[in-house]
Symmetry: D2
Subunit: 346 residues, 4 copies
C-alpha cells in the first residue's frame, strides 16, 4: 500500500532525529528556557524580520486553544470560517475554555474582510447586542483546511479591518510551509508576521516529530503567555525537544525545502487528475488535493493507494483527499499518476 | 557543573531514540491508533495483570487535567494533599476546567483514608452542604512531590474508603518507576492497578523524551476518554511516538532497571548526608532527596553541583533537592558524596 | 402609546403582589426550604400528575444554563434549533460553562425527531467522531421563539428518539402557559411531564414578577441539582418569594386563565392582520404574533402602538412582533384592530 | 419561636412592597433600561458622590461571580480571606468560571494590605511563577462574614497596595448598610467608592425582597459589564423590580435607618452576653453577633429563640450566631436579653 491519506504518516525528517540524538546527553533546564529554544527563537525572529515573542507548543489543537483562551475576555467569542478546524474538529476545545466560536460561511475555506466587518457592524447594530457574544478576535487557517491560500491582498484587507476593529488576527499555520512555498503564494513569512497578531509555524505536519512555533507580534497578546501554556498542559518539561527540532528544520532551510518538495509532488497528482478529466473539489495549490471521483474509482484506487474519504455526495460521487509530505516517495507519485492516467474520469 | 536539579535534564534513554529512529519511515495511522501504541498497551496490560484501558498523553499537567475533567461533574471538586501538584504547580489548570481542588493537610506529601472519610462526612453533615463543592474524586501522587511513598496498607485503606464513598481514586505516577523500584516499596504495579481507578506510568521523568501512559481500570472512567484527550489538546497526531517510547522502555524492562539505578544513586547521596550529620527534610526512599542545609553550604555546593532550592526557612536554613535519573553518572555521585564528606554539618 | 413589544412590560398579576404582601412578615428559612415552596411544589406535582423534583429559579437564561450544565459531561454538547434561545440570545452562557451548542436547522422554530436521530447517527458514523463534540442532550422551546407549538405527535417522536439514544430532553417553557392554553395545543402539562426529562413552567412572562419552576422527571437529572443552582448564582436567599408567586398563580388556576386570555387577544390581532391582507411570518397560535409589513406601515403603527422590529428583509419588508399578556387591555387590542382595518395591506 | 438565625427571614420593608404595588401597571422596557433603574442609579451616584456605573443584580453569589469573571483573565485568580464567602460558600462558583480563589489566612475575617503585598511579591519571586496562578484582583467583604469591619486606615492601605500592584479591589457589601451605620465605622459610602474599584450595596439582607446594586468606579471594570450580567443569567427581564426597590430604600434614607436600627438591636444582644460573662467569638459591631456558649446553653436558648450553630469546638463549646434586621422586633430582643440575664455564663 502506498499511503497518501495524511501528512503525518511517518516520524520526522532525518535531520530532526539526528539532532535529537546528537544533543541527547546535553543537560538543559526545562520548560523551553534552554539554549536550543533560544536559538530556534532567534532563527524564527530572523525569518520573520521581527523581534516577536516565540513559544513552542506540542500540537495544533493545543496551540489554537491556548492562543484563543489567552486573548478573549469572558464575554467574547472568536470569528472563524464554519469550516475552520476550531469550529469542527477539536471536540469543542474552544467552548471548553468558555468561548463560543462565531462562524462565518466560508468560500473555499476562507473568510473575507468584508464578512468580518459586516458581522461586527451587525452585532453592534442589534438593540440587544449585549444578549449576544461579543466578537473578540479572528481565526483563519493558512493554508485552509481545503488547501487553499489567502492572497496578500486578502490578508492585508483582513488585517486592516481587524486592526480598525481592535480584533487580534490569529493565523493557524499548521501547514504554513506548504502555503508559503506554493507557486500560488504571493506572501513571505515576513508578510504574515506583519499582518497577523499571532500565528504559528506548524512542525508536526512539516517534518518535525511534533511541535508548533507560536509567533506573537502583538505585545498585548504576548504578555503572560507562558502562564497560559502551563495552564493548558502545554509546558513541555523537556522543552528542548521543541527547540532542537525547529533548529534542525530552520538552520539550513530544510523546512522550506521539504515544503516545496511536497507541494511539487501534490501538483503532479493534481495535474494528473485534471488532465484525465477529473474535477478538483477545491483549487488547492498546496500539499492537500481534493478530487471528485466515482465510488467505483474510490474502490479501485484504494486497492493500491491509501487516501482519505472527505465527503460522500448525494449523487453518489465522493471527494477524496491525497496528501504529500517530506516523506512521500517520487516513485509512489509516479505510480499514482500512472494509475490515474489508466483510469480517467471519462 | 554536575547537575542534579531535576530528573528531566537530558533527552531520553538511548533505546528510546534508537527505536524512534529505526521506525521512522514506517507509515502509521495517527492519533495512537497504530501498531506501536497497540503493542505498548499490551505490554502495560501485562504489567498490570489486567485488561485496562491505556491511553498515551504527552505530559503530567495534561494527564492530570484530562483525567480529572473527564471524571468530575460540574458541581464536584477533587480532594488532594495541599502539596499536590494539581493544587500548587499547574497554573490553576484544574480550576480552568471549572473544578475546585479541595485540599487536605499533607503528612510528608501524603493524605490518609481517615482524612478523606472525615472530609466527606463533614461535607454531608453541614446543613448547607449544597452551598459547598461536592467531593467527587481523590488525587494522590506516588511517589509524592516529596519523594515519599504510600505503603500497601495505606493505599488499600484509601482505595477501600474511596470505593465505599463512590469516589474514583486517581494516582499521579509521574515518577511511578522510582516509587515501585524503591527498597521501601511494598507494592507492585499490579497492586496499583487493583487499588486505583486510574493512574499513570510516567515516562517524561523516567527515560522517555516525553509521555505518560494513563491506565484506567474503572469502566465508568474509561468511557469516552478519547474525546477528553482531544478536547484538552492531548491527541498527538503522530501518536506512534508515544507507543514507540513505551515499547522501548517496557519490552526489555528498561523502565524498571533505570528506576532502580536512579533510586540506588539517590540512596548513596542520602546516606552521605545523614552520615555527615545533615537532616533530611523528608524521609524519601526514591530519586528525589531533600536535605536541610545552611545557606553557606548552598553557596559552596552550587559552585560545582546544581540542585534546586526548595525552601528558605525563617531561621536561615535552606532545603535543597537533589534528583537522580537514568542519565546520572556514578562518577558525579562519587564527587558529590566526597564533597558532602568534606563539608559535614557539624 | 399602547405597548405590545413584549410580555414583561408590567409588574405581576395582582394576586401575586397580594400574596407577597400578606405573607411579608412570616419568618421562613431561606433557600426555598420553606412552606410556600413546598406548597408550590405540591401544586406543580399535582398539575403534572407526577412526583417530580421541582426547583425554583429566577429567570430563563439562568434556568437554561443551570439545567444544561448539570446534565452534560465535559465532552458533550446540547442539540438545539439554530433559532433556539440558548444558541442566539444568552451571550454564550452555555459555552461559558464549557459546552458547545450543536445547532440544527429549524422549521418554524422547531426541530424534529428525525433531525436528532440523523445528527447522532452521523456523529458516530464519522471515523474521527472523537474529534467532534458528543451530542449529550436535546433542548427545545415550547412555544418556540416564533410562537409555534410542537404537536403531541412531534413531541412524542422526539421523546422516543431521545430515550432510545440516551439523550435527556429539556423543554424551555418560558411561555409554557401560552402554549398549553392555545386552541392549537393538543397537549396537557401531564403530557409534557411524561415526555420530557426536565422542563420549566415560566413565571416571568406569565404573570409573576419573576421566576421559573424547573420540573425534573428523570431521577438522574434531579440528583444533586441544588448544588448546581447555588453554583450558578440561582439560590435565592428569600426563596419563599418564588414559592409564594407560584402558589398565587396556581392555587386558583390564574396561570392558565391569564394564558388563555392573552392567547385570545393575540388571536384577535392575528385575525385582523390576516383579514386585512397581511402575511404572518410564522403561523403562531400563541401570545406572540409576527407579521410581515412594509416599512411605511411600521412607521405609522409605531406612532400609537409599540411593537418590536424582528427582522428587516432585503426587499424592504419588515417583520414586527406583537405580544399580549395578562396585563394587555382589551380596549388596546380594539384600537390596534381598528388601526389594522384602517390600514390594510393592499 | 422568636427567630434570630438570619437577616433574610421576612419579605421586604413595607415601603418596598408599596412601591412595587403602586408601580405595578406602569409599562417599562426590560433589562434595567427603565426609568426606575435610572432613578435608582442617580440616587446611588449621589450617595457615592461619583459618576460611577451602577448595575442591579439579583443576589450575592451572582454578583460575586459576575464581577470576578468579568475582571480576571484566564490565568488569574482572586485573592481572598480563607473565610471569604467566595472561598467557602458558593459551591465553587468562581472555579466554575475557570478561576482559582487564592486564599490568605484571615484575622477576624479580614486580610491586610501587607498580606496582599507579600503574596504578590512571593509570587513573582518564585522562579517557576508561571507554573502558579497569577493574582489578578482582591476580594474582601465589609462587613466580613464575622460581622467585623475594616477601618478607613486598613481599607486605604489595601486600596493603595492594590492600585500600586494593578489589582482591582472588589468589596462584597452584602451587608454594607450594617457596616456603614455601625458605631464602630469610620467610613462613609463615599470613602468606599473612592477606595474600591467595584463594590455592591446589598439589598437582599437590608430591606429588599432581593437585589444587589453593583457600583463600578473603575472604567476598565465597567466596560462591557452588561454582557457579563447576561452571560451569568443575571439580566432580569423585569429589571424595573430592582430599580424600584433601591428607589424605595434610598429615596428617603430607609436603607440607612433600618441598618442603624438592626445594629442597635444587635448591640443590645452583644452587651447582654458580655455583661453576663460570655465571650464573643468575634468583636462584631454590626448586625451579626457570634458568641461562645456551652452545649447546654444552646439547647436551652433554642427552646424559645432560633439562632444558627456556627461552630462546634473540640472542647464541647459552641459558637452560635444571632442576627438582627429591619424586621426584628424590639420586644423579641427584650425577651432574648432577659433570657441571657437569667442564664449567665457562670
Amino acid at each position: 500500500m502506498l499511503r497518501f491519506e495524511s501528512d503525518y504518516l511517518e516520524g520526522a525528517h532525518p535531520a530532526v532525529l539526528e539532532k535529537l540524538t546528537s544533543t541527547n546527553y546535553e543537560q538543559c533546564p526545562g520548560y523551553s528556557e534552554d539554549v536550543h529554544c533560544d536559538n530556534a527563537r532567534k532563527l524564527i525572529q530572523a525569518e520573520c524580520g521581527m523581534d516577536a515573542a516565540v513559544h513552542f507548543l506540542v500540537g495544533g489543537t493545543q496551540a489554537n486553544t491556548t492562543v484563543i483562551a489567552s486573548v478573549l475576555k469572558a464575554h467574547q467569542g472568536v470569528l472563524a470560517a464554519d469550516t475552520g478546524h476550531i469550529a469542527v474538529h477539536e471536540t469543542g476545545a474552544i467552548e471548553a475554555t468558555g468561548h463560543k466560536v462565531l462562524t462565518l460561511p466560508h468560500t473555499n475555506g476562507k473568510i473575507s474582510a468584508a464578512q468580518v466587518e459586516a458581522y461586527v457592524a451587525a452585532h453592534y447594530a442589534d438593540a440587544a447586542f449585549e444578549h449576544t457574544v461579543q466578537p473578540g478576535m479572528v481565526y483563519i487557517s493558512h493554508p485552509t483546511e481545503y488547501g487553499t491560500l489567502y492572497s496578500k491582498e486578502e490578508l492585508t484587507a483582513l488585517s486592516t479591518v481587524c486592526r480598525k476593529l481592535g480584533l487580534p488576527l490569529f493565523l493557524d499555520g499548521a501547514r504554513l510551509g506548504y502555503g508559503l512555498m506554493s507557486d500560488a503564494s504571493d506572501m513571505t513569512i515576513k508578510d504574515i508576521a506583519q499582518l497577523c497578531d499571532v500565528f504559528y509555524i506548524g512542525g508536526t505536519k512539516v517534518g518535525a516529530l511534533f511541535g508548533e512555533a507560536v509567533v506573537i507580534t502583538a505585545p498585548a497578546v504576548a504578555k503572560d503567555f507562558r502562564y497560559h501554556i502551563k495552564q493548558h498542559g502545554g509546558m513541555l518539561a523537556k522543552g528542548r525537544l521543541l527547540g532542537i527540532q525547529f533548529e534542525a528544520l530552520l538552520e539550513t532551510g530544510i523546512y522550506w525545502q521539504i515544503s516545496k518538495y511536497a507541494d511539487d509532488l501534490a501538483k503532479r497528482i493534481k495535474n494528473a487528475f485534471v488532465e484525465n478529466g477529473f474535477t478538483m473539489a477545491f483549487d488547492s495549490p498546496t500539499n492537500q488535493q481534493f478530487v471528485v471521483v466515482s465510488e467505483e474509482f474510490v474502490k479501485k484506487v484504494q486497492e493500491k493507494f491509501s487516501c482519505s474519504l472527505f465527503e460522500r455526495r448525494a449523487n453518489g460521487d465522493c471527494v477524496i483527499r491525497f496528501c504529500t509530505s517530506w516523506a512521500t516517495q517520487e516513485s509512489a507519485v509516479d505510480e499514482l499518476v500512472a494509475f490515474i492516467s489508466a483510469n480517467p474520469a471519462v
